[in-house]
């Protein structure tokens, strides 16, 4: 499954995690590794969590038409192995399927691979469908799969996930024209999803285009590229040679074309929706959600919060090197105020490092409330007063607003926060260099719990701003990766999270809502966690 990389909601291109954007995609396996994917299980035809009418009868489905989909930014590359922004992932879902996919309830299901099974805990066998063709007419088979993996893992291609996956794979073997056997270096709970998420590009196209794969598409998906006018529109058209046309009673794919339009300004995107110049608005700001909901002819959708915003606290630098100071900070902040001021009551305050869509999420854990008195007590126990701390954050929303809310609540406890907004590249540098005491950050959805904890808290992670280095924490994470039983892993991740709660190198702030809107004429358009926008069965009602 593609890496999670939801972007910032602002103009910055950097593939930072945002959590106002809806189509977040995740990495990592669902903990049902032990299962064999059987047969041709179709993805469920469930509609998105709220708002959409139920699936219509086959006789009602109208084929044809053009769906106009607006996102906040343009894609930067069409290379299926390199693209990782959520906008790219959204389109790639329709153009470049991979071996495996996810169902609506985040179970790993077959896609190009009709079967997947572990012979033993380090040997994965993928059996592929026959009769699959790429957009350029060439055949998809096990040889093509090997070519794709070779390219994805090649350091020269510099894919975002390549280096990490390469570490885990010992060998890839073509058994016959429909079967590939992959041997892992060691058991790894996240390997199935990473492997299953490598997108398949036509080897002929790889050879033909070379670097120009960034501007050309030859996948096996239901839609192929017609044209890309950067910053203006990207048009996909129906691929008549799509292998899975028999998925539903009525022909799939159903649209004639899918037009992706970048519209950077949120209010302009809504103006377009209102005037029916677009069919789907991929991102709605919390402040606009109520007014969009009340518009006639428009369906506004609020998805379960799947991303999380957090603040890192530098444990290596005085005064935050003192545990009591960090505890004071954690007690002083007001999460509910963030919800009201920044998210207009949508989403939920965070009490856990895991987001609500993950199986590790502790649904019954109470949200910590602001406790100014407790914070002050901790500070005097630590023997400090009139603290002045530097907070670094990207110079965009929602970080700016969250920083202001935090500054206010920390001020009540006697802590002065100096807000330092940084341009996105500078912010990355600051994270790496541990510049400052506090850092605001966000992470998008992950299907495996490991994804929520390894990137920023492991001692050897480049972006470990806090400088956290805890033996018990590292051991729990390493052990959990080797296991497949969910109950056993749960115990370990609970241990890991407890270390974070005890040592406070981080504070969990909020789980923002995923908001999007569409016209009521759009049918069977779905956003599926870890896949992106699914539009192969989407059709447009007339009138």
């Amino acid at each position: 499954m593609p890496r999670n990389a939801a972007p910032t909601p602002s103009r910055s291109r950097l593939s930072r995690r945002s959590f106002v954007q809806l189509s977040s995609v995740g990495l990592g396996s669902a903990a049902i590794l032990a299962a064999c994917g059987g047969g041709n299980s179709t993805s469920s035809s469930a509609s998105p969590s709220t708002g959409s009418p139920p699936t219509a009868k086959p006789s009602d489905v109208v084929v044809g038409g053009n769906l106009r989909y607006a996102a906040s930014r343009d894609v930067t590359t069409l290379d299926g192995h390199v693209g990782s922004l959520s906008e790219e992932v959204t389109i790639f879902a329709g153009m470049y399927p991979s071996s495996l996919s996810y169902s609506d309830d985040s179970q790993i299901i077959p896609d190009l691979a009709e079967k997947f099974e572990y012979a033993d805990n380090v040997t994965l066998t993928l059996t592929y469908h026959t009769g699959v063709k790429f957009h350029d007419g060439t055949d998809f088979n096990a040889d093509a799969v090997k070519v794709n993996f070779d390219r994805y893992l090649d350091p020269a291609t510099a894919t975002p996930g390549g280096a990490a996956l390469k570490k885990k794979i010992a060998s890839i073997e073509v058994v016959n024209q429909t079967t590939v056997r992959i041997k892992l270096v060691a058991p790894d709970a996240t390997a199935l999803a990473s492997i299953g998420g490598v997108r398949m590009i036509s080897p002929a196209a790889i050879t033909k285009y070379g670097k120009d794969l960034a501007r050309n598409v030859a996948g096996a998906g239901p839609y192929k590229l017609r044209e890309w006018q950067k910053d203006d529109h990207l048009t996909l058209e129906r691929f008549d040679g799509y292998w899975n046309q028999a998925k539903a009673p009525v022909r799939v794919p159903r649209l004639d074309s899918f037009i992706f339009k970048p519209i950077v300004e949120p209010s302009v995107m809504l103006a377009n929706l209102k005037t029916r110049s677009i069919d789907v608005a991929a991102a709605v700001q919390p402040v606009d959600f109520d007014s969009v909901k009340s518009q006639s002819g428009v369906v506004a959708v609020e998805r379960k919060p799947s991303s999380s915003s957090r603040m890192y606290i530098n444990v290596r630098r005085a005064p935050t090197s003192d545990l009591r100071v960090r505890q004071a900070i954690s007690l002083a902040i007001d999460r509910e105020a963030i919800g009201k001021a920044v998210y207009f009551g949508l989403g939920k305050p965070a009490a856990s490092v895991f987001s609500p869509t993950n199986w590790m999420y502790p649904a019954d854990r109470p949200i910590p409330k602001k406790d100014t008195a407790g914070a002050k007590a901790k500070l005097s126990a630590a023997g400090v007063s009139n603290l002045s701390l530097d907070m670094v954050l990207p110079a965009s929303e929602p970080y700016r607003s969250i920083a202001l809310v935090l500054q206010a609540s920390l001020a009540e406890a006697g802590i002065t926060v100096n807000i330092k907004q940084l341009e996105s590249s500078q912010f990355l540098d600051a994270l790496k260099a541990h510049e400052g005491h506090l850092a605001l950050d966000a992470i998008g959805n992950r299907s495996d719990p490991d994804g929520f904890v390894s990137g920023n808290y492991k001692a050897d992670a480049p972006f470990n701003f806090a400088g956290f280095n805890d033996v018990q924490f590292e051991k729990a994470l390493a052990d959990a990766l080797l296991l497949t039983d969910q109950q056993q892993r749960r115990v370990l991740y609970q241990k890991a999270e407890q270390r974070l709660l005890d040592e406070v190198p981080t504070v969990f702030l909020y789980n923002p809502p995923g908001l999007y809107a569409q016209l009521d004429t759009v049918q069977e358009f779905r956003i599926v966690d870890f896949v992106g926008s699914v539009y192969d069965t989407t059709w447009l009602k007339k009138g």
Partner: protein, 320 residues
């Protein structure tokens, strides 16, 4: 005159070299680089692997070579028209620029035209009716255009004309070659936004310049000769007043490239401004340099044209 033209042309080259050279050096001073932007923060790698991935990517972009060599290579290729390829999409920079240039030129050109259409008559009215109601009125309109932020103007226009009245599309660009009428409809609101703010400066300048000319002796002579007021104004007055105005226009023409970024962003117009700003954030150096080169050349050419036009407007000015 020919000698002057040739001399001016050759003087452009050192300017271009200095400008692009300084930009190259600025890379070192600016935090971040294309590789770390491309990899971003989504990494499961440990520190050593992260560094290795960064190094691979930098090698892919030729960033591991010495800066002077990189610059030399760039200049050499640019001289024969090869501006390199975008790091992100591998699109040739020349192609990226030539795709967006028509948009920016049309937007900028029409905005400038609108500025003129508003400003010059307003300035003339103001100058001729100095200090009475018409002057005040013209000044007010001019100042309004100057003070109202582009962003606010853009949103107000979209709200009224696109959302409420639905006369025009809220955003987006239609190519002239695809649909001339659609193109015009998509460009009206952005041009109004840009044109009204540009108008104020030209209006004030027209007014003051004309006021100065009107008080000259030769104007009195012309009137004494019995010429019609209109002939006096346009043949004698404006022709002289135009000189400072032309200077300003030259500067504004130069600023066309990349100058309309905010309007392009709001109206989703695929222009040079947005190309440049996105490339800067992504540290897509080939694109940034290509746009800077384009922008500098435009400034130089515009000012060159302005200097030549002085000779046409004022016979006293000669370039030999």
């Amino acid at each position: 005159m020919t000698e002057y033209i040739i001399r001016r042309f050759f003087m452009m080259i050192p300017v271009l070299l200095i400008v692009t050279g300084v930009l190259f050096m600025l890379r070192e001073a600016t935090p971040g680089d294309p590789a770390s932007v491309a990899i971003g923060q989504e990494t499961e790698l440990n520190k050593a692997e992260y560094k290795a991935t960064l190094d691979n990517l930098r090698a892919k972009y030729d960033l591991d070579k010495p800066l002077a060599l990189q610059y030399g290579l760039w200049v050499g290729r640019a001289a024969i028209g090869d501006l390199g390829n975008s790091y992100r999409s591998n699109q040739p920079v020349r192609e990226a620029i030539s795709e967006r240039l028509p948009v920016t030129l049309e937007l900028g050109g029409l905005s400038l035209l609108l500025s003129w259409i508003i400003a010059v008559p307003a300035g003339v009215i103001a100058a001729r009716n100095r200090n009475n109601v018409r002057d005040l009125g013209a000044n007010f309109v001019g100042l309004l255009g100057l003070s109202v932020p582009n962003i606010w103007m853009a949103f107000i226009l979209i709200y009224f004309f696109a959302v409420k009245l639905q006369w025009l599309p809220p955003s987006g660009w239609v190519r002239f070659s695809d649909d001339p009428l659609g193109n015009l409809r998509s460009v009206i609101l952005p041009v109004i936004t840009l044109g009204t703010s540009g108008a104020a400066v030209i209006m004030r300048l027209t007014r003051s310049s004309l006021l100065e000319v009107i008080s000259q002796d030769y104007m009195r002579t012309a009137r004494a000769k019995g010429l019609r007021e209109r002939a006096i104004l346009w043949r004698h007055g404006m022709r002289n007043a135009l000189i400072p105005i032309t200077t300003v226009v030259g500067l504004e023409l130069g600023g066309l490239i990349g100058g309309a970024f905010i309007v392009e962003q709001i109206f989703s117009l695929p222009g040079m401004g947005k190309l440049a700003v996105d490339a800067i954030y992504a540290r897509d150096y080939p694109i940034v340099q290509g746009v800077l080169l384009m922008s500098t050349v435009t400034y130089l050419l515009a000012n060159f044209a302005v200097d030549i036009s002085y000779g046409l407007l004022d016979p006293r000015i000669r370039y030999d």
